[in-house]
Assembly symmetry: C2
Homo-oligomer: 357 residues x 2
């Protein structure tokens, strides 16, 4: 295993310490339990936005803590959910009196621990809403997940909801916005190589010298199939087509009913993308794929979108939701309206994303 780390068990902590040293004006890092909060937390009167999940997907989530995006991020160990205690402490640290919105990627461990944390916070009088991101069109009921996995749309929701919280949306309105953003986003990824989880020390899976895994998850979970690696255009077209042709997606989400202090099942339907839609196109590196290759993928994606009469009006290209050093790419298309576009364009000031501020 070739990595720039010291002891495996110190990796997450030392990485957070480095982040604290590099960006003291933007974030504060709390260790044991580990969480990262914006430097001016808590912001009184603003809904606090919290996300978290296993480490290994950097810059997500801690790199997105700061004005206009997350109030707190809770990194677990590599590919391991943060604990309920950790999530609760983070919620306490950022709660400014207007409640907490948790953005939760749909992985069974994350869902369970965020639910426990929400109950604990509610018991302390903190209003909490948990919104699930489940945008990966590749597979249903994958390893670690019931339903669809949460991937690229997560960071788009963090940006959009972060801007809305800054503008003064209350908790109900922010939860509705997050639900809408999730419903508007669809993603699919692929891998050329496996990553190596430090604690394991060997690749998570084996791929042949000329193989790719299409529809892979961000922890190396199996995707749709293994295929001989084709030209980049074919990869881009496969991902884009799967997203563009994905039908309406219905499922039941479990959300905390604050008036009844109980979990409630609500039915959600994500409408498919269709001709005439305007979208944000997000081409993401899984970590080890360089930027020049992302642009080759983007080139074909733009062509496929044109053919489907889906207009790209915003683009985002880079390594934003990664799987350690995995080589591969994911595509996310997010249907935009004026509200989402305006919030996407709002200023943001975080270690990994900074504009207009």
């Amino acid at each position: 295993m070739k990595k720039l780390i010291n002891q495996v068990e110190d990796f997450v902590r030392e990485s957070l310490e480095g982040m604290a040293a590099a960006h003291p004006e933007l974030v504060r890092v709390h260790l044991d339990p580990n969480y990262v909060v914006r430097a001016d937390a808590p912001v009184v009167g603003k809904v606090a936005l919290v996300s978290g999940g296993g480490s290994g997907h950097e810059p997500m989530h801690a790199g997105f803590v700061g004005r206009g995006m997350l109030d707190a991020a809770c990194p677990g160990e590599v590919f391991t959910s943060p604990t309920p205690d950790q999530l609760l402490e983070a919620a306490r640290a950022v709660h400014g009196g207007a409640g907490v919105l948790n953005i939760v990627k749909n992985y069974s461990g994350d869902v369970m621990n965020f639910e426990m944390a929400a109950e604990l916070a509610a018991a302390e009088g903190i209003s909490v809403a948990n919104i699930l991101i489940d945008d990966d069109v590749a597979v249903r009921d994958s390893l670690y997940t019931q339903g669809r996995r949460g991937v690229g749309t997560t960071v788009l929701a963090e940006k959009i909801c972060g801007a809305a919280a800054e503008r003064g949306y209350d908790l109900d309105r922010l939860a509705a916005l997050c639900r809408k953003t999730n419903a508007a986003g669809r993603s699919m990824g692929m891998a050329l190589t496996s990553c190596t989880v430090p604690a394991r020390g060997s690749p998570t899976f084996d791929l042949g010298a000329d193989e790719m895994e299409i529809g892979i998850g961000i922890h190396g979970e199996p995707g749709r199939q293994r295929l001989p690696l084709p030209a980049a255009d074919a990869v881009s077209e496969m991902l884009a087509t799967a997203i563009l042709q994905d039908p309406a997606y219905s499922r039941v989400a479990r959300e905390w009913d604050r008036s009844a202090s109980a979990w409630q099942d609500i039915e959600l339907v994500d409408e498919p993308l269709k001709a005439g839609d305007t979208v944000l196109a997000f081409v993401n590196s899984m970590g080890g794929t360089p930027l020049a290759e992302l642009y080759v993928v983007y080139r074909k994606l733009a062509e496929v979108c044109r053919k489907h009469r889906v207009e790209i009006v915003r683009s985002w290209v880079g390594p934003y939701i990664t799987s350690l050093e995995m080589q591969g790419v994911s595509i996310t298309l997010l249907r935009l309206d004026d509200e989402l576009t305006g919030l996407w364009d709002d200023p943001v000031l975080t270690p990994a994303l900074r504009w207009g501020a």
Copy 2:
């Protein structure tokens, strides 16, 4: 070779086409010869800032084209210098009547071709200054280079000089600023793995399963030595110490004398870093090393700087000058004064770097 490309010979062009499609509001891409200019070029009355070099180091340079940074970037084929014709056409496209400053990394091919382009431009009445970046403390007279190689300081000089050009510095003042920035910057890198140049199809060099190459160049040129890969802290300390203990560096630079229309040799001395200095600390991924590992390296770098009483007042962490998918890291320390700090903080609006705008 596992890469997201189509035909090898189309890689650079298609990547540029993807970039053009993704950022039409920021840049325009010209093909055959290939160059990227800011969308509003030429900016009348402003010195135009041009850089270029082989592709494979993205986002450098094309990702840094835009307001507050470069007016044009000339990407050659992968790890191959741009041609004099290409550089000349780019200079013509961005010349706004106030001259052109070329920022040239010290590689023999780049130097030769930028010199030819400068003579051709001068013959057309365009005032040109070429400033060499030679900040790599690892080795002298490496493969492809006489003297020191140009690495991390290049992108810092692009940001700082780009801001100064925007503020209205004239060509002489801008050339002096670029010379000063180069003299203030020192870098060293290392690799865990080789990259694979598409046209070759196999790794540039072999490294054993537990080996690293310390002092490597951004094209995989040999560094100082191969060593068993130690813990990240030892890597960070080796790089930082080499930079901090680097003695005064004297050499002769060849610059275009516009009054005499001839090349002139000038003597330059870079003063060493010393206790009491304030610096910008730049921890860079060679491409395949993920952000979480960069922060582990940064953590130790901050400690080493403290021990040397060198104060880090600005930091930059990410993949900004890469070697395709190579795993590894480089460190750059840039001695700051009020002028450089203010210019570093100025707004910038490019595909890869955007803040305050």
